[in-house]
Amino acid sequence: MASLSEEVLLVVKKVRQRKQDGTLYLMAERIAWGPEGKDRFTVSHPYSDIRCQKISPDGKAKVQLQLVLHTGESTTFHFANESTALKDREAAKELLQQLLPKFKKKANKELEEKNRMLQEDPVLFQLYKDLVVSQVISAEEFWANRLGGLNNSEPAPYSNKQEVGISGAFLADIRPQTDGCNGLRYNLTTDIIESIFRTYPAVKQKYSENVPHSLTEKEFWTRFFQSHYFHRDRINTGTQDIFSECAKQDEKGLMSLVNKGVKNPLVDLLSLEDKTLDEGYGIKQALPSTSNTNKTVKESSNAAIIKRFNHHSAMVLAAGSRKNEVTADQASETSSTDGNSRDSDFFQPPVKKVKLQEAIEYEDLQRESKQKTVALNLKKSDRYAHGPVPLQSQKYTTSQDIINAVNCIQHEMAHYKPNLTQVREKNNNTFLPSTEMVPSDIQGELKHLYVAAGELLRHFWSCFPVNTSFLEDKLTGHLEEMLQTAYSKFHIWQTRRMMRKT
């Protein structure tokens, strides 16, 4: 049994599935269930396939746990051991809760990415069907070549979809409605939740910690709207509130933003003044709010609102441009590590200089003949100067060869006769099928074959230069086979067509 080699983390007996008693196993990488007395698993899901787990409400007679898969299917386990059913389920749920996120992140991201790519690009999807489904090449190989762009810093042409920002007022869109009996109703949509999570990562963290483990989703959001955190004007008085921590985290985030300082020296208020007056000089009165003790509650609540607004706006802004930032960071990292960063710095005047120059420019006083040019931004200047250098030595053609070749061609040309009489009649459509004469389905088929062959050739060429043994294997081993397969496929198609024709 395959599962024996795996580490079994939890075994729960007396678990029913489809009205059949059995045992539930939680292993390192999958969850499995086997009917009682049998030696095999009838249900087995790798964790990475599971989207989420759901549990039955506490009051229900049946204690159940439902697993929802990415495919949309779901499996329900009924914990039937009367005395310990609840406890069993808790144990299973808790373990799952720990395990799922680990797999989720990795698997999901990739899976989603692949799914998205296939959905967005019908040609790719067809190619996938032609090559992978018909098992010309394996799925991994197919993706290895495609997803490469994702992991590299330069985005693949497929993933440059612009990210949608967040509305600044998403919190305002949650209008509370009175439900008639002294309560409030908040309507949340997935968009709003997504916005909240993106803007306030602290809340997202709380959510994944607490839901559905200690709170249901509904409870979580109820608490959120009751919290001091949501109502920014209320001062946090240190009550036991799961969101009080969030507020602190936000504060920390804001502080770190503030401490990071600003890049543009023209807006840096700290270094604006050249020489500040020493303490004790000047007529400006010391502000009463410098000491916290004589701050009134109202004043500090006002200050809290202001702080929150600044933070909120900064976060919304950051959420909109987060992706760019990451890539920019990466780029700067790579450029600083490759030792070549100096020259890109050299060509780019520092921010300060640029800003100063911008500030003193009077474009309408200048003659317009000057064309604005964009500075060439070179990450590696030597690459620009030399161009790609072949890794392998090539056989150079000598000039004598070239002369011979030219002579040869000239000779051939001189003796060329067009043989115009042998040109076929215009309406003979068996030769060189013009597009309008070929039915579209055949055209489509041919196109698919062509694209598939092209893809294979791409694989083929991407193996060069052959500098690893893996590539060599790939080349000599199955790639050749694949090309063969593709060719035979084409051949089959051709013969089939010919057959149909006759």
Partner: protein, 761 residues
């Protein structure tokens, strides 16, 4: 292009010139010719700085003996750097046109914080720390100690500069702060002292106001600058406040406590020195008998407080006998301290003049006027004798002795106010002694006396005649220039009513009025929906802004605004505000659009420009009057009335309007720029307020836009924005640069003014 300004050949580094720049140069030339002072107002964004530099440099080249130096004072570090960059552009143009090698030396000077290259010292964050640390490495006795003790750390950059830097003058060129640092690093010289030394022979010096106006620093840095210099105060609309600030002192109980401990430390040190090195004290005594002047041989690195009092005759005298020995002086300080403490124990507000204070102190503790006058000098000498390394610790005692010197020197122009508590928190005892200067002319007087031409200029100096009055000088030229525009790119609107006809005003009585706040909110909301990119809104004070933001939040107005734009708010913390500002610009940059809520008189309103899309509209909520209940202000108003015949209301309105003009002027920084200026207070419509706005704004306020409702404002704004959003095409004349055209007749000039620029070659 080359210009002929009344016979002076001026090189101007652009191909075209605005007519107002030409007139500005004319006025400036007349000022220099007359060797007098001038007040010139020209809108921001019309190239004030470059016209000024072009003319003065040309003047310097033409009459090298009449004007030897240009001292250009600006307010903020970025401004200083901008000026130097413009100068660099000008000099490059000179070099290109004339083919001569530039022989001008121009440099910027800033505090150590911006110039230090010592790896440890420059990593400190605050200016004061940098100064203190630098001092502890470069003071003369520290360096003297090094001879006996080689382990004593010193600054190698200063040592290197001291050894060789003085012999070779800084080569001619334009040195911005970064250039100085580069040069310093290359040579291994301290850029700060190099710059301070080089300003003596530089042709152009650019630094901040304080180096000339704050007597404590001016005495150290700018003392030996040549008399035949031209001094320019740019952005001078607040110059009176700078003057006043530099001469005023506040003393709290905490100051006195710290001072007490300072005195104790001094006592200990004196005791120690007496045991080990009594000769040193005797030597000091001898020096004090001989007079202070000799004692104060130029030791530039000893940055003990320089005497805040400028009259030189005091320095010629010997220090009075009663404070000549160190112990006696300490006893004297103790008595003075005790007296101040007793004064702070009051239960009601006391206001008195300097002579009254002196009389009282003589009666109570028998302290005479004369030793008080020498207090600052005497302390300086003592600190130097005792070889105190970290003078930052002794800031309290220097403050007190400074106060002593000031109070005994000036009988007029100062007032002493002792408040037992803050008016807003009457239950908490927090006594403060304000020694406040009421007469800005005291600090600036030496500047006017010493230098042959002083030019005060800014984008907003209206009404012009008030500055000569409050600064007490007689200008030879006073001129206000307007902005010639190819298209009306500014649109001042006065919103007096809400849609419900409620009068909008920030005046005290209606300040808390719900309806006014709601209407203000509506205005901002409506504007946020129609104005592209950035909107800046200014409030009259920080407290007012906090209250309004809170009630807008309660009313849900802010949430609605957030649907259109992101909101950023200035806070009292400068670092936080900087962050908010940068994010604001980022939001304008990426097209999301943002609103910045800010405060008039705050740092943002004074130092940050909102060019182009960073500020398409400025909304001024209310009239930014200063807090009128303050006793210091009342005393100052009284003084202005008695001494200069300026009515209180006139001054208050003038002050409010110059700040309002500063705020709204932030949005227009050039002729290609455009922006709305919305004055949201019905009081702006009155002639006395409107008349105090700069001419270039006033001109564009039509009678129809004096008392608008919010809806009307939105309509007018929409129209304006739609017009301005059209691509701005200039119909430039064919290249006429070779055609020699000199505009001489005023009629022709006024004709030219109607177009945006004119070619004068």
């Amino acid at each position: 292009m080359k210009l002929n300004i009344e016979g002076l050949l001026v090189y101007f580094p652009y191909d075209y010139i605005y007519p107002e720049q030409y007139s500005y140069m004319l006025e400036l030339k007349r000022t220099l010719d007359a060797k007098g002072h001038g007040v010139l107002e020209m809108p921001s964004g019309t190239g004030k700085t470059i016209s000024l530099l072009s003319l003065i440099v040309a003047y310097q080249k033409a009459f090298p003996l009449d004007v030897t130096k240009l001292i250009y004072c600006s307010r903020t570090v970025p401004e200083i750097e901008k000026v130097v960059e413009e100068l660099r552009k000008l000099m490059e143009f000179y070099a290109k046109e004339t083919g001569e090698v530039n022989n001008f030396l121009a440099l910027a000077l800033s505090s150590r914080k911006n110039l230090c290259i010592h790896p440890e010292v420059s990593s400190l964050r605050f200016g004061k720390e940098v100064d203190g640390k630098c001092h502890s490495l470069t003071a003369s006795y520290i360096r003297a100690q090094r001879h006996s003790n080689p382990d004593q750390p010193v600054c190698r950059f200063y040592e290197e500069f001291d050894a060789v830097g003085r012999q070779v003058p800084l080569p001619a060129g334009i040195y911005n702060l970064d250039d100085l640092k580069d040069f310093g690093r290359r040579k291994g010289w301290c850029p700060y002292y190099l710059a301070r030394y080089s300003i003596l022979h530089a042709n152009i010096v650019v630094y901040s106001y304080h180096y000339l106006l704050d007597p404590k620093i001016a005495d150290l840095v700018s003392k030996e600058l040549a008399k035949k210099s031209v001094v320019v105060f740019d952005e001078a609309h607040n110059i009176d406040n700078v003057c006043i600030d530099s001469m005023s002192v506040n003393i709290t109980r905490r100051t006195l406590d710290r001072c007490q401990s300072n005195v104790e430390t001094l006592q200990h040190t004196i005791q120690k020195i007496k045991d080990t090195d009594a000769a040193k004290l005797r030597e000091e005594y001898r020096r004090l008998v001989e007079g202070l002047k000799e004692a104060n041989v130029a030791r530039e690195t000893d940055v003990y407080l320089a005497n805040p009092v400028l009259p030189d005759e005091i320095l010629q005298e010997a220090v009075p006998g009663s404070i000549r020995t160190a112990e006696h002086f300490l006893g004297f300080l103790r008595r003075f301290l005790e007296y101040l403490k007793s004064r702070l124990r009051v239960h009601h507000v006391v206001q008195e003049s300097a002579p009254q204070f002196l009389k009282d102190i003589f009666e109570k503790v028998c302290i005479d006027r004369k030793p008080l006058r020498f207090c600052a000098e005497r302390l300086q000498s003592l600190l130097r004798t005792l070889e105190i390394a970290d003078i930052a610790d002794f800031s309290a005692v220097t403050l007190i002795s400074n106060f002593a010197t000031l109070v005994s020197t000036y009988s007029l122009g100062f007032t002493i106010i002792i408040e037992p508590f803050d008016d807003r928190t009457p239950t908490i005892a927090n006594p403060v002694l304000h020694f406040s200067c009421m007469d800005p002319s005291i600090a600036i007087k030496p500047v006017f006396q010493r230098f042959q031409s002083v030019v005060i200029t800014s984008g907003t100096l209206s009404p012009l005649d008030i500055y000569p009055k409050i600064l007490d000088f007689r200008p030879v030229t006073m001129a206000s220039f307007t902005m010639t525009l190819a298209r009306t790119c500014l649109c001042p609107l006065i919103v007096g009513r809400g849609n419900d006809q409620v009068a909008l005003s920030s005046k005290f009585e209606t300040r808390e009025d719900f309806a006014v706040i709601r209407n203000y909110g509506n205005l901002l909301l409506e504007m946020s929906a129609i104005v592209p990119d950035g909107i800046v809104a200014f409030f009259t004070s920080y407290v007012y802004m906090e209250n309004i933001v809170a009630s807008w939040y309660e009313q849900g107005i802010l949430e609605n605004i957030q649907r259109n734009k992101l909101i950023f708010i200035e806070t009292q913390d400068a670092a936080e505000t900087s962050m908010a500002l940068e994010k604001y610009q980022e939001a304008c940059e990426n097209g999301r659009g943002a609103i910045l809520l800010s405060v008039a008189r705050g740092k943002v309103s004074e130092g940050i420009d909102f060019v182009h899309h960073f500020g398409r509209a400025v909304i001024m909520f209310g009239v930014p009057y200063v807090y009128t209940q303050s006793r210091i202000l009342k005393a100052r108003l009284e003084y202005l009335r008695d001494q200069f015949q300026i009515r209180e209301n006139d001054f208050l309105t003038f002050d409010a309007m110059r700040h309002a003009a500063q705020c709204v002027g932030r949005a227009i920084r050039g002729k290609t720029d455009y922006g709305l200026m919305i004055f949201a207070d019905k009081r702006y419509a009155r002639a006395d307020k409107r008349g105090k706005l700069p001419r270039w704004i006033q001109e564009h306020i039509s009678d129809g836009s004096l008392n608008l409702t919010v809806d009307e404002t939105v309509q007018l704004s929409k129209h304006f924005l739609r017009q301005m959003a059209q691509p701005f095409r200039q119909v430039k004349p064919p290249d006429r640069r070779r055609v020699s055209l000199r505009v001489t007749s005023p009629r022709l000039l006024s004709l030219c003014r109607r177009t945006s620029w004119v070619c004068l070659c």
